[in-house]
Amino acid sequence: MARLELTSVDKSFGAVSCAKGVSLTVEPGEIVAVFGPSGSGKTVLLRMIAGMFEPDGGDILVGGRSIVDAPPEQRGIGMAFQNFALFPHMSARDNIASGLRATGAADIATKVAAMSRLLKIEHVLGHRPRELSNGQKQRTALARALIGNPEVLLLDDPLRNVDAKLRYEMRLELPSLLRRSSAAVLYVTQDYREAMAIADRIAVLINGRLVQVARPEEIYARPASVAVARLFGDPSINLSEVTPVVEQGRLTAAVAGTLIRLDAGELSSAMRERCWLGVRPGDVVVTRHGGEGAIPARIVAVTPIHERAVVLLRFADGSEWLAALAPEALEAGADDDVFVRFAPEAALLFDHASGDRIGLSPRRQAA
């Protein structure tokens, strides 16, 4: 099988730049998720590989050979689309078999039967797409993409239009299904959990630029920038503007008027004027009791999300933070005055101007 390589690929439509020097390698059998906010250029990137757009600069290689000049049908690529893109006038069987027919493969019926058994759609093979549920449509589209044993598999947010329960099932099933094909897989998604669950590595794309490519746990623990940190986590990370100072040999910063001790780590060397302090809602502790390093706050509302209580807190200066904790750990309700703490090592610091993360906090390093 072959490796997929993108080397400094550029693409713009008029004044809008969709890809700026994107370089990425996907090994055979590897799943790389392309993740980013909407409009960040994920889909355009996939479409350049598939041959629907031509890159303005750079090269795309499969197994070491450039494919930018090859027409789509000769690129050896399988693709699944967000809107399924099934052929409406053909049965599910003919949809799946369409690729095999084009190459004149033998044993079409056997192969279609095996693939549909794997994806659990044997019972709907005779149906037209309009008679299928969204889940069945997506499985048919996946079968169609996988059946020709493509060297590169492109999945454009395939679970977007599938209902929550099915999406969860597919999230469990997909990784083994995709690895079985040993293709180089690029998986576009807008859901960070989906990216973390499915991918071996995640490529974070923001405004056409790859800002970080790393393993899921690495990105979550050590986001390269504020923008990346904000994308991973639901609810998303709390951010406060701080000016760290050294006091009695300790690095501290005032958050909403309260002086908080931060983890020194390698920070003293990387001291900046102003920073963004980031604390994930899951690392925020809400208590009834004050004390050193406890920020007074008022609870605006409590909303249960994903088996956790998400607490909207308002500080004296009007800024807001979120805390996510186990429902039984919360001893207060809306309109109560409480105190907020976090462990020094839970704080991430980012440069105010560039947004880049500063230093390494020890606990995160160990993760």
């Binding site: 041959g51 027409p71 789509p72 809107n83 409406p88 690729g99 797409p129 020709g148």
Partner: protein, 285 residues
């Protein structure tokens, strides 16, 4: 919402009946006229009950028109045939040229694309009479006067813009991803066009084809000037009913019925496809 009372429903029924009578009356009246002799038609007051006669149809089909001034030769059946040949040939040619062009306009953004498409549409804006004089001079020079090909060519002014603009809309409604998927499955763009785009735009192509057939069928001016008696369609041939001894209303009515029938049958047959529309599932997520 259906908050309507009984009175409301009765009123609606009466209003609908009035509209129906208003629109259907001329058609029914022509049908009745076609089975009457000229004397019966011109009777005052007109009667709904009469002894039907097939004389009008006989005259048209045999080509012998009996008038007070004597017998006249009619070429109605030949005209009908001409209409058929001219309209069908025009529509087929327009489809062959227009469908690929519509696809190109729908799928590809190219320089002057919109301008070209609009120019083609603008052929419909010019009054045919203004175009005709120069055109007939050219045709005489080129030897195209009084040929089927010449008229079919001119008819492209009618059929091509219609097909181009209607079918283009249908192509634009098909998600390009469906064609991309077909190409990634290993098919060339030609196959994607013939096996995916054309079948999916089928209803639109049928609608556009039917409309342009009707427009070609009903055209009068082009054929009047550019064709002589043996190439003329029914619309021009109908002039023969205005004779020295008066207007042959019965025959006109019969001629109308005969010339409307093919288009009507075609429309009824195609209706199925027209209504089916593009809602074939999966086109939209």
């Amino acid at each position: 919402m259906d908050h309507s009372s009984l009175a409301g429903r009765i009123f609606r029924g009466i209003a609908l009946a009035l509209v129906l009578v208003f629109f259907m009356f001329p058609i029914v009246w022509i049908l009745l006229m076609s089975f009457q002799s000229n004397e019966q038609i011109l009777r005052i007051p007109p009667r709904l009950l009469f002894e039907p006669t097939l004389a009008n149809y006989e005259a048209l089909i045999s080509g012998q028109l009996k008038t007070a001034a004597g017998n006249l030769q009619l070429t109605f059946m030949r005209n009908l045939m001409n209409s058929f040949i001219l309209s069908s040939a025009s529509v087929i040619l327009a489809l062959l040229l227009g469908v690929p062009a519509a696809y190109a306009f729908a799928r590809f953004k190219f320089k002057l694309g919109e301008t070209i498409a609009f120019t083609l549409l603008s052929f419909r804006f010019a009054p045919p009479l203004l175009v005709l004089l120069p055109l007939s001079l050219y045709y005489q020079q080129l030897g195209l006067n009084d040929t089927y090909f010449g008229i079919v060519w001119v008819y492209q002014l009618i059929a091509l813009p219609l097909i181009l603009w209607i079918v283009r809309g249908y192509f634009e409604d098909i998600s390009p991803d469906i064609e991309h998927a077909y190409r990634l499955a290993g098919h060339s763009w030609r196959e994607a066009f013939t096996r995916i785009a054309v079948p999916l735009a089928g209803p639109g192509i049928a609608a556009a084809g039917l409309l342009s057939f009707i427009f070609c069928w009903n055209n009068f001016v082009f054929a009047l000037i550019l064709a002589s008696a043996d190439k003329q369609p029914v619309t021009v041939g109908a002039l023969a009913f205005v004779t020295a001894s008066g207007i042959q209303y019965g025959q006109i009515a019969a001629a109308i019925v005969l010339s409307v029938t093919p288009t009507l049958l075609l429309a009824l047959y195609a209706q199925r496809y027209l209504v089916e529309g593009l809602s074939l599932g999966a086109v939209k997520g």
